[in-house]
Amino acid sequence: MEQIPADIDDQDRAFVRGYLGGQRDAANGLIDRYQKPLYNVALRMLHDAQDAEDVIQTVFLNALLKLKSYDPKYRFFSWVYRMTVNESLNVLKRRKPTVALEDEAGLPAAGSTPDRAAEAEDQVGMALLDLKPDDRAVVVLRHFVSFTYQEIAEVLEISVKTVKSRLFTARERLRVALLEREG
């Protein structure tokens, strides 16, 4: 498991200082660095591109507008990832509960695209929706942005023990949903 390099934190702090000092380009730097991973986190949390876009816009705006309240003793990445997860969870809470269909949760329907990446995306996306949102967040942070247990704990403000518990439980469910049905 690779940790976020320390120089990334230093660069983030430099961007933050620059932005607070009136350098508008600093916002560019922060957005360039984080927009893709944050978008992918929101996308996998929500399984909806438009919702994910809305979440990321909200997160960046809130982050930049509240940058003054950001405590630099904490790592910037964990702050924005936490905002992204929390905002995604808020969106999920507002969604009307739906009953997942058998086919949706597992394998793609017959006749779907043969493209393997698209197939994997469909399979994984639907299976993730079957997880509890808190568990899903752990899986997404682990498998889509490759965070360590410690980093996930930092982002979600939970213990490493809880991270592992949620991750292992969620993967067991995914294993059943995605693999055993394949036979």
Binding site: G21, R24, A27, Y39, N40, E53, D54, L61, E87
Partner: protein
């Protein structure tokens, strides 16, 4: 049967979190335990499946949208100048989402929709007062020194404004004797409003004058969406309703106008799915907001068919989504006007309400000649002077 520790060990191996010693233990475990091998193989396939999922690029406009939203407030400016001044791209995006939101989250969105309605009411009120003032006092107001009529050098203080590229009238086209101007003098409600202390106080309000001088205000006044809304029957009916008047004069609504969360939501756009924002959460906890939601007249207004028609009209939505309109709402002067006693007093007058509902007023707004007249400082001052004499 694998015990918990061994299962965890395998999971950790998949995640690359084991020490060399632990990895060696896993290898030994897999060599002697088929169940462990099966679990490791499944987790490996699962991990591979995740790896196959493409990491998508964010939408190309996302960064621009964020930067546009941040465009107005410079980070180093004083707190009073901060704020969400122009999240236009967000609003456009949110507009496209409105139908989806309503379709999928009706129960959960109830509060958000209530808030949207609250904001719409406020926007409509401002639009009304702004247009009255624009017509009565000229455009821009006295002191700005630049109108849009002709650019005749012989007319002091009136010069061509490059901003307005529509039909340009000449001085010869406009005069106090113009039939459209005469409509004003024949309307007792308008004259009564002009003479009222509340209106005069409003006209002296420096924030109101600043607002009139802003580009956003001018752009709104010139937008087709604004004109269409102002001329609609639904708008007039709402303006004329007792429920609307009561709501606008309620203490709860006034308190909301001073609430930062409410302002933030207004600036985000009434059609935004606002419930996800911190501002929305703060607003929902606000006592004034709660009071307004429980207000009988407020609920009555929401149930009013004209109000519903107004909200559903494309012109009103266009106005709400209009960048200039959003920018105007974010304007510090606009905020001050909304919170001013003068504004509240005008809203409370019978004359104001009557004017808003009058055919004469509607006709005036739709008249191109009158719109051009209203931009002339010299003519508006002449009108005010004439109006005062007429009242004497």
């Amino acid at each position: 049967m694998l015990d918990r520790d061994r299962i965890e060990l395998i999971h950790r191996e998949i995640d690359g979190a084991n020490t060399p010693e632990e990895s060696a233990a896993v290898r030994a475990l897999l060599a002697g335990d088929p169940e462990a091998r099966a679990l490791a193989a499944d987790l490996g396939r699962l991990s591979h499946l995740f790896d196959q999922v493409e990491r998508r690029d964010p939408p190309p406009g996302l960064k621009r949208a964020v930067l546009e939203a941040l465009a107005q407030p410079a980070p180093a400016t004083p707190p009073s100048a901060r704020g969400w001044s122009a999240p236009f791209a967000l609003i456009r995006s949110a507009l496209s989402r409105l139908a989806y939101v309503i379709r999928h989250f009706p129960e959960q969105m109830e509060n958000a929709i209530m808030t949207k309605k609250t904001m719409l009411i406020g926007s409509a009120a401002v639009a009304a007062i702004v247009v009255v003032a624009a017509i009565m006092t000229g455009f821009p107001p006295s002191g700005a020194g630049a109108g849009t009529i002709g650019g005749d050098p012989g007319m002091q203080g009136v010069q061509q404004a490059a901003r307005y590229h529509g039909r340009t009238m000449t001085v010869a086209d406009v005069s106090i004797d113009n039939p459209e101007i005469q409509v004003l003098f024949q309307n007792p409600e308008i004259l009564r409003l002009v003479q009222s202390d509340a209106f005069r106080s409003m006209m002296r309000n420096s924030a109101f004058r600043q607002l009139q001088e802003s580009d956003a205000y001018r752009t709104v006044m010139n937008s087709d969406a604004y004109r269409t809304v102002m001329a609609s029957d639904a708008y007039r009916t709402v303006m004329n309703s007792e429920a609307y008047r009561t709501v606008m004069n309620s203490e709860a609504y006034r308190s909301l106008q001073a609430n930062e969360a409410f302002r933030t939501l207004q600036q985000q756009g009434a059609f935004r799915e606002a419930q996800s924002t911190q501002a929305m959460r703060e607003l929902q906890e606000n006592q004034a907001y709660r009071s307004l939601q429980a207000n009988a007249e407020f609920r009555q207004l929401q149930a009013n068919q004209a109000f519903r028609d107004l909200q559903a009209s494309q012109a009103f939505r266009d106005l709400q989504a209009n960048e200039a309109f959003r920018s105007m709402q974010a304007n510090a002067a606009f905020r001050t006007v909304m919170a001013s006693d003068a504004f509240r007093s005008i809203m409370a007058t019978d004359a104001y309400r009557t004017i808003m509902a009058s055919d004469a007023f509607r006709q005036l707004q739709s008249a191109e000649a009158f719109r051009s007249l209203s931009r002339s400082q010299a003519l508006s001052e002449a009108f005010m002077s004439q109006a005062m004499r007429t009242q004497d």
